[in-house]
């Protein structure tokens, strides 16, 4: 912008800035900020009724979000992992029981859901949206495919809060991730530093729904 152009624009810019200043003139911090600060003051000065010590009464907006993630993220992941493990153990327990009725798989699904070159060769899609991790293996077996055995080498982590394959045809993607990256995401990956093979179930919407990783 040349000096002449700037000269031409400057009055309008000043006017716009004045309008913005006028619009901002009445803005102020909400009362909760004052309340939090005064609680911090009370705690700092040992006033009666101050329930939290020091400046811990101050919880910022962004920190609130971050803290909620820190608390709930691992809790949800642990819960889902527990649910997956319960489902797998349930499947193991019912394998040889006579009279356990199993539904036939949807035709073609097993073939569609096996893009891996190793590890999960027999991944299949269940129709039942209730049991996320046991059914695919059942269906694979009934479809005549060699079912994968639960392996001590692999840990399954279910991210979705509903059946992994309730809708659509998922894609299984194998990738290599550093252990540090997994741990940064809150997924424990014990062992030496290095890369970990991860098989990830990706829904039709492109969102990761579950993954397994080598222990």
């Amino acid at each position: 912008m040349t000096a002449d152009e700037m000269d031409e624009h400057e009055p309008a810019l000043r006017e716009a800035l004045r309008a913005l200043a006028a619009a901002e003139a009445s803005s102020a911090a909400p009362p909760r900020v004052e309340r939090a600060l005064l609680r911090a003051w009370d705690a700092r000065h040992g006033r009666a009724g101050a329930s939290v010590a020091g400046d811990e009464t101050i919880v910022s907006g962004t920190a609130r979000v971050r803290r909620a993630r820190q608390i709930w993220g691992p809790a949800v992941a642990a819960g889902l992992l527990w649910a997956a493990l319960v489902a797998v153990s349930d499947w193991v327990g019912t394998q040889d029981r006579p009279g356990v009725e199993r539904r036939a798989p949807r035709a073609g699904l097993a073939a569609e859901a096996r893009p891996l070159d190793g590890g999960w060769r027999d991944a299949a899609v269940p129709e039942d949206p209730v049991l996320p991790s046991a059914r695919p293996i059942d269906h694979a077996r009934e479809a005549g495919l060699p079912a994968p055995r639960p392996s001590a080498r692999w840990t399954a982590v279910v991210l979705a809060d509903e059946s992994v394959t309730a809708e659509g045809v998922p894609l299984v993607v194998r990738m290599r991730v550093s252990r540090e990256a997994l741990e940064a995401l809150g997924v424990p990956a014990p062992g030496a530093a290095g890369m970990v093979d991860v098989d990830m179930v990706v829904g039709e919407d492109g969102v990761a729904q579950a993954f397994t990783l080598e222990r």
């Binding site: 700037m6 624009h9 309008a12 800035l17 309008a19 200043a21 911090a29 939090a36 005064l38 907006g61």
Partner: protein
């Protein structure tokens, strides 16, 4: 009968330093809006602005004795702390800042909308352009043009010479005008520029 006068900032700081809660509350009431507006204009985020206000007054609570009334006004001192916290927040969280105003949408709406809506949209565009300026230019515009701080006080808050404030202000305004014009926001935000654009 003598009329009761309001205590000065220095007096309130002294009393707050001695542990008087009401003095701290009065200081907060007196200055929170200024700090909040500065942080809001600097970051375009109400959440961050609230955090900055908290950080600033926590600093006053802990280290208020560092303020020297002979060197600067309390407002300048608070701007200095707010600037520090705002920059820190900005560097950490700017990746997540969402500026949702697009020129096409704004133009399309402005054709049919009321003057008030057009006014709000032009302000939003201006805020968006402002928040995209480099911080050294943004802060002097926020201080001098939007908060009416003198060049001398702005220089004290920013920690540079008055001449530097002037040059940054000049350069910042030019960049702001360029960005608004380039974004096509000239029609409402810069009426004079609109005539150039449409002819």
């Amino acid at each position: 009968m003598s009329e009761a006068t309001e205590p000065s900032d220095a007096e309130l700081m002294r009393r707050a330093g001695a542990g008087e809660r009401e003095a701290f509350a009065e200081l907060y009431a007196r200055h929170q809006a200024t700090v909040y507006r500065f942080a809001r204009l600097m970051t375009a985020s109400e959440t961050v602005a609230e955090d900055v206000v908290q950080d600033v007054f926590l600093a006053v609570m802990r280290e208020g004795s560092r303020w020297d009334a002979a060197r600067s006004s309390l407002t300048t001192y608070l701007f200095g702390i707010a600037r520090h916290h705002t920059r820190r927040r900005w560097l950490r969280e700017r990746r997540f800042t969402v500026l949702d105003i697009t020129c096409e949408r704004a133009h399309g709406r402005a054709a049919d909308a009321s003057d008030e809506l057009a006014h709000h949209e032009s302000l939003a565009r201006l805020r968006g352009a402002l928040v995209r300026l480099p911080s050294r230019y943004r802060e002097v515009i926020v201080l001098c043009d939007l908060q009416g701080v003198s060049y001398t006080d702005a220089a004290a808050a920013v920690g540079c010479a008055v001449g530097t404030v002037r040059s940054r202000l000049h350069r910042g305004r030019r960049m702001l005008a360029e960005r608004l014009t380039r974004a096509g926001a000239c029609r409402t935000a810069l009426p004079a520029a609109a005539m150039r654009c449409e002819t």
